[in-house]
Subunit: 375 residues, 2 copies
């Protein structure tokens, strides 16, 4: 059974780019592939395309299912589909796996054409700027000159911001959700602990673990457990788990005692079995590095002087990793330049994770904003 | 040169207890030793004794120095000494290393008399209640029937609380600083990630690493790095490190790029070379377990019905690990029972670490409260 709000069955596609890509670090990728999905139909004017940028552990499978019996829909399926807030009857939606990813796009586990071995430690460090450049190449490949909108949450929001800076004529609207103009020291510190857990795992082998037939599962597991703490608010964790014991009685051991421990271990184990550690390192580094105000001496308003897109900026009250205050910095910098920006601070209990949840108020705002975009 | 506010040279002492101690878990320690220090002079009435309870990584060396050239004074030296807020001209101050510690008291690295091998994994899991029971035995040993005050920050504050519950006739004042009546789910989650980093370190060997001549340094390092993030406020980290680069330029690597990374790695390395991983596991578990309201169905006011001590409760505005709201729960439960409690929420930027800092306002409050205690 298929409900009439679902996109239904979708399939991933792959684009190959033979031209070398020079990265911000100076490294050059001789060639690369991007895996992507599209939902809805590109109109004749090619004016209805919306790009979805993913966050730390996301990928190109944003909406729909791969088979009729597929239990898991894409990661933002609650937002995207016919008559959903991001309506595929109106928009042509594109999701991709970012360069350096581990879901089909060229990344550290891909073969280095120079050696015919996995890139591993030799795969370059990436930046938000590099991702947006490669996304623009994908838009060229799809024949899309200008996007109606770029939408992203968290690290995805940074990519949406970067689109308006690097390709001002190629994007009309940026939806920047639960994001920030750069990371705070505390945020970078969490990333560093996660990376150190991976890098010091004896099975990391300097990033060349593929050749050893192992993965740094322990480190990746710790990184993910830590991440999950920061994606939820203190209150949400309290409400979801509180101090609930797993078996109802204290065992005086270091095994699982509390429900919350069971949840974290499950999430950690699951992620460690699926995600590539080298990709995780690069995703967190891209987060650390992004700082569009840096070339302007830290003046974000100066950085936004050239921006012409219209903005919707959204934050969530209980998000302590990308707090509303950080979103307000973006809004202020846009207003300083008299740009068109809508801002909402959504009351939500779920912390940073709220941007992925089907909160009614949140979705109503997105629906209203998107319905006003002309295509 | 010795300033007239310093205690000067101090020395640790050791008390041996031959009687078996039954722990809350049901495990029995056949015998144990506690290492402790004292500052000031016990008066003839033995009415001026103040016990200092330490937190996660603290120990018995609370104030003074071991030699004239000793660079590091005890961990709360800014608070304790002649004419300092906790004035050793008036009080006889006792610091100890808790049972299970790694600074001289019987702990996991001590020899198990049954096997003549280090206890390791066989050392029991401890609770705040066990610590307070062993502290009461130390008071017996020192001939102190009643303490003028018990003082503790963080996990130390939980011990001060527990004294007023378990030994109501043996303590007149409890100073509970930057503490909580139990941990939140988020707090327990941080502990769990730290423990998992240690336990999954291949050199942990199920807790019996002593026999292998190794220590789970990687795990302990990650645990400490994570801890440091939560001891500082987001703002304090921002002010101390911000996004400052180590060398002034981005290197596009996973080596130290930002000052904050250098700080965290240094703190992690230092701790991993000094502290015992089995002790760390037990300290965090004691934090997790402490919940005096649990036998009262979560009703803290009911738990405090029997309390007779007077209280000073202090919290710090930027402390997100033991937030002011948690201290106010303690205050409310005391007021519900019409107990005498003073409460102050100190404006401080340093987060949880603020309880160790020589903030003037904070120290003034402590000085005022302590000067009013009759001995």
């Amino acid at each position: 059974m298929q409900d009439n709000h679902s996109i239904g069955i979708v399939a991933a596609q792959k684009a190959h780019f033979n031209a070398p890509l020079t990265l911000k670090s100076g490294a050059v990728l001789p060639q690369f592939e991007l895996v992507y999905e599209t939902y809805g139909t590109l109109n004749a004017e090619k004016s209805n395309a919306v790009l979805i940028c993913h966050a730390l552990s996301g990928n190109h499978h944003v909406a729909g299912k791969y088979t009729e019996t597929d239990k898991n829909a894409g990661w933002w399926d609650n937002l995207i589909g016919p008559n959903k807030p991001l309506d595929t009857n109106k928009f042509f939606v594109i999701g991709l796996n970012n360069l350096g990813g581990c879901h089909g796009s060229t990344g550290p586990a891909s073969l280095n054409p120079a050696t015919n071995q996995p890139w591993g430690s030799q795969f370059p460090v990436l930046t938000v700027e590099d991702w947006v450049n490669s996304q623009a190449m994908l838009m060229d490949y799809l024949g899309i000159q200008q996007l109606a909108a770029v939408v992203g949450g968290s690290l995805g929001g940074m990519q949406a911001l970067q689109w308006t800076l690097a390709y001002k004529d190629r994007v009309r609207h940026a939806l920047v959700i639960a994001s920030a103009p750069n990371l705070t020291a505390q945020n970078m510190a969490f990333n560093e602990v996660a990376r150190q857990a991976i890098i010091t795992d004896p099975e990391f082998h300097g990033g060349d673990y593929y050749a050893h037939g192992v993965v740094p599962r322990r480190g990746l597991r710790i990184a993910r457990m830590l991440g999950h703490i920061t994606y939820l608010s203190d209150d949400a964790m309290g409400e979801k788990f509180g101090r609930k014991l797993r078996t109802g009685e204290i065992k005086y051991s270091f095994d699982v005692e509390f429900e919350m421990e069971s949840y974290l271990r499950y999430q950690g184990d699951k992620f460690a079995g699926e995600f590539d550690a080298n990709t995780y390192l690069r995703m967190t580094r891209a987060l650390d590095y992004y700082d569009p105000a840096l070339p302007f001496g830290g003046d974000l308003s100066a950085a936004f002087k050239q921006v012409s897109a219209e903005f919707l900026v959204l934050s969530f009250t209980s998000d302590w990793r990308f707090s509303p205050a950080r979103s307000r910095e973006i809004v202020k910098a846009l207003l300083d330049n008299e740009r068109t920006v809508s801002y909402a601070e959504v009351t939500a209990a779920h912390g940073h994770d709220a941007f992925l949840m089907p909160d009614q108020h949140y979705h109503d705002i997105l629906r209203a904003y998107l319905s006003n975009i002309e295509v």
